[in-house]
């Protein structure tokens, strides 16, 4: 499997934010995207996820077989918001995404235990703290399988223990043959990850 980004330009609000970005990742590889605020890290991730059209260039994904024909189908996108509904319980939220996204690997309860939230699955999502909400969003990545993880500030709001646990989950995903592209200010504990620095003037 191979995720390739070729000469991509990114626009936000009609203005060019970055241009000529290229990288390629094979299975088991990770890329850290760093840079100051406004450099276009989130825009780049959204372009790779297929949520924004690239102003120029192309994003390709090969080797995903029928289940993951292109980059959009092959990605789990974890953006700044968590994608969960406050009025539903944690388990209901995850059960919905399991049904909607398909390709189930873990049950909601198993995924919650892997992120340390095994006991509070029955609580409404709105009652959770910031860190617990982020961990629920991370649990979504574990329930349905996607080869590529696009993470935008994944550890925002997490304490050290949770960060460490998340690094383990990322390493497990990589050794399973997955690909990770993460935009972050903080070190994520991934050795051997390439780095893409954006926004250098």
């Amino acid at each position: 499997m191979r995720l390739a980004v070729e000469n991509v330009d990114g626009e936000r609000g009609g203005e060019l934010v970055f241009s000529g970005v290229s990288f390629a990742l094979d299975a088991g590889r990770a890329l850290l995207v760093t840079g100051p605020n406004g450099a276009g890290k989130s825009t780049l991730l959204r372009i790779v996820a297929g949520l924004l059209p690239a102003a120029a260039g192309a994003v390709t994904f090969a080797g995903g077989a029928e289940a993951f024909p292109d980059a959009k189908a092959a990605c789990h996108y974890l953006g700044h918001p968590n994608g969960m509904k406050a009025a539903l319980t944690v388990e209901e939220n995850l059960a919905f995404w399991r049904d909607f996204l398909g390709e189930q690997r873990l049950s909601p309860l198993e995924a919650l235990e892997m992120v340390g939230l095994g006991e509070i699955g029955h609580l409404p999502f709105g009652y959770l703290s910031t860190g617990q909400r982020r961990r629920t969003a991370i649990a979504r990545l574990l329930i349905s399988y996607r080869p590529v993880w696009l993470l935008d500030e994944p550890t925002a709001g997490l304490d050290h223990a949770s960060e460490a646990r998340f690094s383990e989950l990322m390493r497990a995903h990589l050794s399973d043959g997955g690909i990770i592209v993460a935009a972050t200010h903080l070190p994520l504990g991934l050795e051997g990850a390439e780095e893409l620095r954006m926004g250098a003037i």
Partner: protein, 256 residues
Amino acid sequence: MNEKAVRRWTDIANPTRFLELAGSLLPWIWGAALLTLGAGLFMAFAAPEDYQQGTTVRIMYIHVPFAWLAMLCYTMMAASALGTLVWRHPLADVSLKSAAPIGAVFTALALATGSIWGKPMWGTWWVWDARLTSVFVLFLMYLGIIALTRALDEPSRSARAAAILTLVGFINIPIIKFSVDWWNTLHQPASVFRLDGPTIDPSMLWPLLICAIGFTLLFLALHLMAMRTEIWRRRVIAMRRLSARAAEMKPVEAAR
């Protein structure tokens, strides 16, 4: 030969070339419009009176062209909408956005002149029959498109949204055209664009057609002017953005 034609077409797609071309064509179009309109209106006053309606029938010579233009403008906007969505022509969005207010005004004028004509003829300023209702709905649609494009100020997003809305509303145009045939309406049935040919007498038909052509040329001139204004407006916005960014960079250099 074909290649040259294709290249001329894509040249116009370039806004700068379009500005040049429009600028050089405009005086001619204005001239032609004023000449044709002048001739048409003269012929309109010289044309015979209607045996029933007397001299008020002369409103027809501006009312009907206004109504035709209201529909023509929307059809042109729908074509521009296709240009935006399907071919991504860079000027298609400019064309749509600048035509909307012109179309709205022509529709309003059609409704107003029709109303003025209707009062002595039908005895009422307004009636909710199929033709008037559907033209009024067309007017509301124009206003909706204008509201949408003003609300989404970033051109790329508003282009797509306006195009989709225009296309969804296009269903109204055939309804307007055929409303007088499908329903029992107070408005008279079609007398010019019919399968069996026009039923209107040539002494009235010719002034009507000349007026229609004159107003169409007027519309073309107004539309080209509006497109140029819109292109210039977007350039001003882009230049302002650039100067804001340049000012952001400057303190870094000053600090050195």
